[in-house]
Protein backbone atom coordinates (compact mmCIF):
# COMPACT_ATOMS: atom_id res chain seq x y z
CA UNK A 1 0.00 0.00 0.00
CA UNK A 2 1.31 3.37 -0.89
CA UNK A 3 0.65 5.73 1.97
CA UNK A 4 -0.32 9.25 1.10
CA UNK A 5 2.61 11.58 1.55
CA UNK A 6 2.10 14.02 4.35
CA UNK A 7 2.46 17.68 3.79
CA UNK A 8 6.02 18.24 4.82
CA UNK A 9 6.37 21.92 5.16
CA UNK A 10 5.32 23.93 8.12
CA UNK A 11 3.91 27.40 8.26
CA UNK A 12 7.27 28.95 8.94
CA UNK A 13 8.81 27.65 5.77
CA UNK A 14 8.87 30.04 2.88
CA UNK A 15 11.32 31.42 0.38
CA UNK A 16 11.98 34.12 2.96
CA UNK A 17 13.06 31.64 5.55
CA UNK A 18 14.92 28.77 4.02
CA UNK A 19 16.89 26.44 6.22
CA UNK A 20 16.81 23.25 8.03
CA UNK A 21 13.09 23.23 8.72
CA UNK A 22 12.02 21.57 5.51
CA UNK A 23 14.34 18.67 6.13
CA UNK A 24 13.15 18.43 9.72
CA UNK A 25 9.57 18.21 8.55
CA UNK A 26 10.42 15.58 6.02
CA UNK A 27 12.09 13.51 8.67
CA UNK A 28 9.07 14.01 10.95
CA UNK A 29 6.52 13.15 8.33
CA UNK A 30 8.37 9.99 7.48
CA UNK A 31 8.82 8.87 11.04
CA UNK A 32 5.21 9.64 11.97
CA UNK A 33 3.87 7.49 9.20
CA UNK A 34 6.14 4.68 10.35
CA UNK A 35 5.00 4.54 13.94
CA UNK A 36 2.83 1.45 13.76
CA UNK A 37 4.96 -0.50 11.34
CA UNK A 38 8.16 -0.13 13.31
CA UNK A 39 6.57 -1.75 16.35
CA UNK A 40 5.59 -5.02 14.76
CA UNK A 41 8.99 -5.79 13.24
CA UNK A 42 12.01 -7.33 14.92
CA UNK A 43 14.69 -4.93 16.06
CA UNK A 44 17.38 -6.33 13.78
CA UNK A 45 16.31 -4.19 10.82
CA UNK A 46 19.11 -1.96 9.54
CA UNK A 47 16.86 1.02 10.29
CA UNK A 48 16.34 0.09 13.94
CA UNK A 49 20.01 -0.68 14.39
CA UNK A 50 20.97 2.65 12.93
CA UNK A 51 18.38 4.43 15.12
CA UNK A 52 19.72 2.69 18.22
CA UNK A 53 23.26 3.75 17.42
CA UNK A 54 22.10 7.30 16.70
CA UNK A 55 20.36 7.44 20.09
CA UNK A 56 23.61 6.47 21.76
CA UNK A 57 25.79 9.03 20.08
CA UNK A 58 25.73 12.79 20.40
CA UNK A 59 28.84 13.22 18.25
CA UNK A 60 27.76 14.62 14.85
CA UNK A 61 30.66 13.03 12.98
CA UNK A 62 29.76 9.63 14.40
CA UNK A 63 26.07 10.18 13.59
CA UNK A 64 26.83 10.98 9.97
CA UNK A 65 29.03 7.88 9.73
CA UNK A 66 26.24 5.67 11.12
CA UNK A 67 23.89 7.08 8.51
CA UNK A 68 26.42 6.68 5.69
CA UNK A 69 26.79 3.03 6.61
CA UNK A 70 23.00 2.62 6.67
CA UNK A 71 22.61 4.29 3.26
CA UNK A 72 25.23 2.03 1.68
CA UNK A 73 24.03 -1.14 3.42
CA UNK A 74 21.24 -3.60 2.66
CA UNK A 75 18.64 -0.98 3.52
CA UNK A 76 14.93 -1.27 3.06
CA UNK A 77 12.59 0.56 0.76
CA UNK A 78 11.11 3.94 1.02
CA UNK A 79 10.54 6.40 3.76
CA UNK A 80 12.80 5.00 6.49
CA UNK A 81 15.66 5.25 4.05
CA UNK A 82 14.86 8.82 3.06
CA UNK A 83 14.21 9.96 6.62
CA UNK A 84 17.69 8.86 7.74
CA UNK A 85 19.24 10.32 4.59
CA UNK A 86 17.69 13.68 5.43
CA UNK A 87 18.67 13.47 9.06
CA UNK A 88 22.28 12.79 8.01
CA UNK A 89 22.26 15.72 5.58
CA UNK A 90 20.83 17.97 8.28
CA UNK A 91 23.49 16.98 10.81
CA UNK A 92 26.25 17.44 8.21
CA UNK A 93 24.99 20.91 7.38
CA UNK A 94 23.93 22.33 10.71
CA UNK A 95 26.35 20.61 13.11
CA UNK A 96 29.40 19.91 10.95
CA UNK A 97 28.81 23.01 8.80
CA UNK A 98 29.70 20.89 5.82
CA UNK A 99 27.17 21.17 2.96
CA UNK A 100 29.48 19.19 0.65
CA UNK A 101 29.25 16.27 3.05
CA UNK A 102 25.45 16.61 2.96
CA UNK A 103 25.47 16.52 -0.81
CA UNK A 104 27.75 13.48 -0.81
CA UNK A 105 25.12 11.66 1.29
CA UNK A 106 22.51 12.45 -1.33
CA UNK A 107 24.81 11.26 -4.11
CA UNK A 108 25.51 8.04 -2.23
CA UNK A 109 21.78 7.48 -1.73
CA UNK A 110 21.04 8.19 -5.40
CA UNK A 111 23.63 5.63 -6.50
CA UNK A 112 22.47 3.01 -3.99
CA UNK A 113 18.82 3.53 -4.94
CA UNK A 114 19.13 3.43 -8.71
CA UNK A 115 16.56 1.06 -10.18
CA UNK A 116 14.78 0.46 -6.86
CA UNK A 117 11.31 1.58 -5.84
CA UNK A 118 12.65 4.18 -3.45
CA UNK A 119 14.61 5.89 -6.19
CA UNK A 120 11.88 8.47 -6.84
CA UNK A 121 11.65 9.40 -3.14
CA UNK A 122 15.41 9.90 -2.97
CA UNK A 123 15.39 12.03 -6.13
CA UNK A 124 12.60 14.23 -4.79
CA UNK A 125 14.43 14.66 -1.52
CA UNK A 126 17.62 15.60 -3.37
CA UNK A 127 15.64 18.08 -5.45
CA UNK A 128 14.38 19.75 -2.27
CA UNK A 129 17.94 20.02 -1.04
CA UNK A 130 19.02 21.60 -4.33
CA UNK A 131 16.08 24.01 -4.09
CA UNK A 132 17.07 25.14 -0.60
CA UNK A 133 20.57 25.86 -1.84
CA UNK A 134 19.32 27.56 -5.01
CA UNK A 135 21.59 25.22 -6.87
CA UNK A 136 22.09 25.67 -10.61
CA UNK A 137 21.60 21.91 -11.03
CA UNK A 138 17.93 22.23 -10.02
CA UNK A 139 16.26 22.39 -13.50
CA UNK A 140 18.30 19.44 -14.80
CA UNK A 141 17.28 17.41 -11.74
CA UNK A 142 13.61 18.18 -12.49
CA UNK A 143 14.09 16.98 -16.08
CA UNK A 144 15.59 13.71 -14.81
CA UNK A 145 12.60 13.18 -12.52
CA UNK A 146 10.22 13.58 -15.44
CA UNK A 147 12.01 10.96 -17.51
CA UNK A 148 10.91 8.09 -15.26
CA UNK A 149 7.43 6.87 -14.43
CA UNK A 150 4.67 9.48 -14.67
CA UNK A 151 4.69 11.85 -11.71
CA UNK A 152 1.74 11.92 -9.32
CA UNK A 153 0.02 15.04 -8.01
CA UNK A 154 2.01 15.02 -4.74
CA UNK A 155 5.26 14.66 -6.68
CA UNK A 156 4.44 17.73 -8.74
CA UNK A 157 3.58 19.59 -5.56
CA UNK A 158 6.92 18.73 -3.97
CA UNK A 159 8.72 19.88 -7.11
CA UNK A 160 6.70 23.09 -7.01
CA UNK A 161 7.57 23.68 -3.34
CA UNK A 162 11.26 23.09 -4.00
CA UNK A 163 11.12 25.48 -6.96
CA UNK A 164 9.52 28.16 -4.75
CA UNK A 165 12.37 27.73 -2.27
CA UNK A 166 14.80 28.25 -5.16
CA UNK A 167 12.84 31.32 -6.40
CA UNK A 168 12.21 29.53 -9.72
CA UNK A 169 8.71 30.97 -10.04
CA UNK A 170 7.77 29.75 -13.55
CA UNK A 171 8.79 26.21 -12.72
CA UNK A 172 6.91 26.40 -9.41
CA UNK A 173 3.77 27.60 -11.18
CA UNK A 174 4.02 24.97 -13.90
CA UNK A 175 4.28 22.03 -11.50
CA UNK A 176 1.56 23.37 -9.22
CA UNK A 177 -0.68 23.60 -12.32
CA UNK A 178 0.14 19.98 -13.12
CA UNK A 179 -0.67 18.95 -9.55
CA UNK A 180 -3.98 20.80 -9.85
CA UNK A 181 -4.83 18.94 -13.07
CA UNK A 182 -4.10 15.58 -11.44
CA UNK A 183 -5.60 16.47 -8.06
CA UNK A 184 -7.67 13.91 -6.24
CA UNK A 185 -8.16 15.61 -2.89
CA UNK A 186 -9.11 19.05 -1.64
CA UNK A 187 -5.79 19.60 0.09
CA UNK A 188 -3.78 18.90 -3.07
CA UNK A 189 -5.91 21.52 -4.79
CA UNK A 190 -5.47 23.92 -1.89
CA UNK A 191 -1.70 23.57 -1.72
CA UNK A 192 -1.41 23.79 -5.51
CA UNK A 193 -3.44 27.03 -5.61
CA UNK A 194 -1.36 28.40 -2.75
CA UNK A 195 1.86 27.80 -4.73
CA UNK A 196 0.33 29.15 -7.92
CA UNK A 197 -0.66 32.30 -6.04
CA UNK A 198 2.80 32.89 -4.58
CA UNK A 199 4.41 32.29 -7.99
CA UNK A 200 1.93 34.72 -9.57
CA UNK A 201 2.71 37.36 -6.97
CA UNK A 202 6.42 37.02 -7.69
CA UNK A 203 5.85 37.06 -11.45
CA UNK A 204 4.14 40.46 -11.27
CA UNK A 205 0.52 39.23 -11.34
CA UNK A 206 -0.66 40.10 -7.81
CA UNK A 207 -4.37 40.44 -8.70
CA UNK A 208 -4.40 36.85 -9.94
CA UNK A 209 -2.45 35.84 -6.85
CA UNK A 210 -5.18 37.21 -4.54
CA UNK A 211 -7.80 35.18 -6.41
CA UNK A 212 -5.66 32.03 -6.11
CA UNK A 213 -5.24 32.58 -2.35
CA UNK A 214 -9.00 32.98 -1.93
CA UNK A 215 -9.59 29.69 -3.74
CA UNK A 216 -6.85 27.99 -1.71
CA UNK A 217 -8.42 29.24 1.51
CA UNK A 218 -11.68 27.50 0.64
CA UNK A 219 -9.86 24.15 0.31
CA UNK A 220 -7.29 24.27 3.13
CA UNK A 221 -8.15 23.82 6.82
CA UNK A 222 -7.57 26.39 9.52
CA UNK A 223 -6.54 25.26 12.98
CA UNK A 224 -5.79 26.80 16.32
CA UNK A 225 -6.50 30.59 16.45
CA UNK A 226 -7.57 30.45 12.80
CA UNK A 227 -4.02 29.71 11.66
CA UNK A 228 -3.49 27.86 8.43
CA UNK A 229 -1.09 24.89 8.62
CA UNK A 230 0.43 26.22 5.40
CA UNK A 231 2.22 29.50 4.58
CA UNK A 232 -1.08 30.83 3.11
CA UNK A 233 -1.35 33.96 5.26
CA UNK A 234 2.35 34.69 4.99
CA UNK A 235 2.19 34.66 1.18
CA UNK A 236 -1.15 36.46 1.17
CA UNK A 237 0.07 39.19 3.48
CA UNK A 238 3.28 39.67 1.52
CA UNK A 239 1.29 39.95 -1.68
CA UNK A 240 -0.87 42.68 -0.13
CA UNK A 241 2.35 44.38 0.92
CA UNK A 242 3.67 44.24 -2.67
CA UNK A 243 0.43 45.87 -3.82
CA UNK A 244 0.59 48.60 -1.18
CA UNK A 245 -2.50 47.28 0.69
CA UNK A 246 -0.81 47.84 4.02
CA UNK A 247 -3.83 47.40 6.31
CA UNK A 248 -4.83 44.15 4.56
CA UNK A 249 -1.21 42.99 4.88
CA UNK A 250 -1.26 43.75 8.61
CA UNK A 251 -4.48 41.72 9.11
CA UNK A 252 -2.93 38.64 7.47
CA UNK A 253 0.49 38.92 9.10
CA UNK A 254 -0.43 39.82 12.71
CA UNK A 255 -1.59 36.33 13.77
CA UNK A 256 1.42 34.73 12.06
CA UNK A 257 3.76 36.91 14.08
CA UNK A 258 1.84 36.79 17.37
CA UNK A 259 1.20 33.07 17.64
CA UNK A 260 4.00 31.68 15.51
CA UNK A 261 6.85 34.11 15.92
CA UNK A 262 7.30 33.81 12.15
CA UNK A 263 10.33 35.96 11.30
CA UNK A 264 9.54 36.37 7.61
CA UNK A 265 6.08 37.60 8.61
CA UNK A 266 7.60 39.94 11.21
CA UNK A 267 9.86 41.66 8.66
CA UNK A 268 6.92 42.14 6.30
CA UNK A 269 4.68 43.30 9.15
CA UNK A 270 7.22 45.91 10.31
CA UNK A 271 7.33 47.33 6.81
CA UNK A 272 3.52 47.41 6.48
CA UNK A 273 3.15 48.95 9.94
CA UNK A 274 5.71 51.64 9.22
CA UNK A 275 4.05 52.61 5.96
CA UNK A 276 0.57 52.57 7.49
CA UNK A 277 1.41 54.43 10.72
CA UNK A 278 4.54 56.37 9.81
CA UNK A 279 6.66 54.40 12.30
CA UNK A 280 6.97 50.87 13.69
CA UNK A 281 6.91 52.23 17.26
CA UNK A 282 3.37 51.02 18.03
CA UNK A 283 3.93 47.53 16.72
CA UNK A 284 4.83 45.90 20.05
CA UNK A 285 1.61 47.25 21.57
CA UNK A 286 -0.47 46.08 18.61
CA UNK A 287 1.04 42.59 18.89
CA UNK A 288 0.26 42.16 22.58
CA UNK A 289 -3.24 43.63 22.19
CA UNK A 290 -3.94 41.13 19.42
CA UNK A 291 -2.58 38.32 21.54
CA UNK A 292 -4.70 39.24 24.58
CA UNK A 293 -7.82 39.41 22.46
CA UNK A 294 -7.35 36.27 20.37
CA UNK A 295 -5.40 33.73 22.45
CA UNK A 296 -7.54 30.55 22.50
CA UNK A 297 -7.99 28.25 25.51
CA UNK A 298 -5.83 25.10 25.42
CA UNK A 299 -8.13 22.09 24.84
CA UNK A 300 -8.36 19.75 27.84
CA UNK A 301 -7.68 15.99 27.70
CA UNK A 302 -6.82 13.02 29.91
CA UNK A 303 -3.99 10.64 29.03
CA UNK A 304 -1.73 8.15 30.78
CA UNK A 305 2.03 8.34 31.26
CA UNK A 306 4.44 5.42 30.69
CA UNK A 307 3.74 4.03 34.18
CA UNK A 308 0.04 3.86 33.37
CA UNK A 309 -0.88 6.78 35.64
CA UNK A 310 -3.67 8.89 34.21
CA UNK A 311 -3.29 12.70 34.08
CA UNK A 312 -5.82 15.38 33.34
CA UNK A 313 -4.17 18.20 31.43
CA UNK A 314 -6.15 20.98 33.13
CA UNK A 315 -5.12 19.66 36.58
CA UNK A 316 -1.45 19.58 35.58
CA UNK A 317 -1.39 23.16 34.32
CA UNK A 318 -3.80 24.93 36.70
CA UNK A 319 -2.29 28.28 37.72
CA UNK A 320 1.00 27.42 36.05
CA UNK A 321 2.80 28.36 32.89
CA UNK A 322 3.06 25.35 30.62
CA UNK A 323 4.98 24.05 27.65
CA UNK A 324 3.09 21.36 25.74
CA UNK A 325 5.18 19.62 23.08
CA UNK A 326 4.09 17.01 20.57
CA UNK A 327 7.06 14.87 19.65
CA UNK A 328 8.37 11.61 18.25
CA UNK A 329 11.59 9.88 19.25
CA UNK A 330 14.45 10.92 17.03
Amino acid sequence: MRSRPMRWYGPGVSPLRPGAIVATFLACASVLSLGCRAKSRPDTRPYSEAQRRLLQSADPEERVRVIEKFLAGPAEEGKTYVSLLEEGALVAETELNDPDRAESLYRLALTESRGSRRSRLVELSYLEWLGKHRDAAFPAAVDRLQEGEPLEAWDHLRISDAALAASLWELAELHAQQALELQDTADIGGFALLNIGWAEANLGRPEQALRSFQSADRLLPRHFAGLSPSPLDLYWGQTHLLMGNDDAAIDRLLPEVVFRGNEGALRALELAFEREHGSAAGLEGALSAYQQEHAPPAPDFTLADYEGVSHRFSDLVRGKAAVLVFWFPT
Binding site: I21, C36, F259, Y306, R318, K320, V325, P329
Partner: protein, 102 residues
Amino acid sequence: MPRLEPLWRKYGREGLVVIALETTGDDDLARRFIAEKGLSFVLLRQEPTRHNVSQSLYGVTFCPQTFLIDRNGRILHYHPSYSPGDDARIEKQVLELLLNQS
Protein backbone atom coordinates in the same frame (compact mmCIF):
# COMPACT_ATOMS: atom_id res chain seq x y z
CA MET B 1 12.42 17.87 22.73
CA PRO B 2 15.28 16.81 25.07
CA ARG B 3 16.22 20.51 25.10
CA LEU B 4 13.18 21.09 27.30
CA GLU B 5 14.82 19.15 30.16
CA PRO B 6 17.20 21.97 31.20
CA LEU B 7 14.36 24.49 30.81
CA TRP B 8 12.14 22.45 33.11
CA ARG B 9 14.91 22.01 35.69
CA LYS B 10 15.59 25.73 35.64
CA TYR B 11 12.01 26.98 35.93
CA GLY B 12 10.05 24.06 37.41
CA ARG B 13 10.20 25.56 40.89
CA GLU B 14 9.05 28.93 39.55
CA GLY B 15 5.76 27.46 38.34
CA LEU B 16 6.57 25.95 34.93
CA VAL B 17 5.15 22.59 33.92
CA VAL B 18 6.47 20.78 30.82
CA ILE B 19 4.29 18.13 29.19
CA ALA B 20 5.39 16.03 26.22
CA LEU B 21 2.99 13.89 24.25
CA GLU B 22 4.53 11.24 21.99
CA THR B 23 2.59 11.09 18.72
CA THR B 24 3.51 7.83 16.99
CA GLY B 25 2.51 5.35 19.71
CA ASP B 26 5.87 3.58 19.35
CA ASP B 27 6.24 3.01 23.11
CA ASP B 28 9.40 0.89 22.91
CA LEU B 29 11.37 3.50 21.04
CA ALA B 30 9.89 6.30 23.16
CA ARG B 31 10.86 4.56 26.43
CA ARG B 32 14.38 3.97 25.18
CA PHE B 33 14.68 7.59 24.13
CA ILE B 34 13.34 8.90 27.46
CA ALA B 35 15.77 6.73 29.45
CA GLU B 36 18.70 7.59 27.20
CA LYS B 37 18.10 11.34 27.52
CA GLY B 38 17.15 11.20 31.22
CA LEU B 39 13.89 13.12 30.76
CA SER B 40 12.03 13.88 33.99
CA PHE B 41 9.08 16.10 33.01
CA VAL B 42 5.54 14.84 32.34
CA LEU B 43 5.62 12.31 29.50
CA LEU B 44 2.27 11.15 28.15
CA ARG B 45 1.39 8.58 25.54
CA GLN B 46 -1.52 8.21 23.14
CA GLU B 47 -2.77 5.69 20.63
CA PRO B 48 -1.71 6.42 17.04
CA THR B 49 -5.24 6.85 15.70
CA ARG B 50 -6.71 9.64 13.63
CA HIS B 51 -8.95 10.69 16.51
CA ASN B 52 -6.28 11.09 19.14
CA VAL B 53 -5.53 14.17 21.20
CA SER B 54 -2.77 15.55 18.98
CA GLN B 55 -4.77 15.42 15.76
CA SER B 56 -8.37 15.96 16.82
CA LEU B 57 -7.84 18.56 19.58
CA TYR B 58 -4.65 20.35 18.55
CA GLY B 59 -4.64 19.78 14.78
CA VAL B 60 -1.10 18.42 14.97
CA THR B 61 -0.24 16.34 11.90
CA PHE B 62 3.52 16.76 11.95
CA CYS B 63 6.13 17.10 14.68
CA PRO B 64 7.62 18.62 16.67
CA GLN B 65 5.07 21.28 17.60
CA THR B 66 5.21 23.30 20.77
CA PHE B 67 2.43 25.25 22.49
CA LEU B 68 3.11 27.74 25.27
CA ILE B 69 0.24 28.18 27.71
CA ASP B 70 -0.23 30.97 30.25
CA ARG B 71 -1.40 30.67 33.86
CA ASN B 72 -5.00 31.07 32.70
CA GLY B 73 -4.78 28.11 30.33
CA ARG B 74 -4.62 30.16 27.14
CA ILE B 75 -2.28 29.35 24.25
CA LEU B 76 -0.07 32.40 23.83
CA HIS B 77 2.65 31.04 21.55
CA TYR B 78 2.93 28.29 19.00
CA HIS B 79 6.05 26.83 17.38
CA PRO B 80 4.96 24.57 14.54
CA SER B 81 8.44 23.16 13.96
CA TYR B 82 11.84 23.28 15.51
CA SER B 83 14.23 25.73 13.96
CA PRO B 84 17.60 27.00 15.13
CA GLY B 85 17.13 29.74 17.71
CA ASP B 86 13.83 28.36 19.02
CA ASP B 87 15.41 27.44 22.37
CA ALA B 88 16.20 31.07 23.12
CA ARG B 89 12.79 32.24 21.88
CA ILE B 90 10.98 29.62 23.95
CA GLU B 91 12.96 30.49 27.09
CA LYS B 92 12.14 34.19 26.64
CA GLN B 93 8.45 33.41 26.16
CA VAL B 94 8.42 31.08 29.17
CA LEU B 95 9.89 33.86 31.30
CA GLU B 96 7.12 36.21 30.16
CA LEU B 97 4.50 33.60 31.04
CA LEU B 98 6.03 33.06 34.48
CA LEU B 99 6.24 36.77 35.26
CA ASN B 100 2.59 37.27 34.39
CA GLN B 101 0.82 36.18 37.58
CA SER B 102 -2.72 37.17 36.60
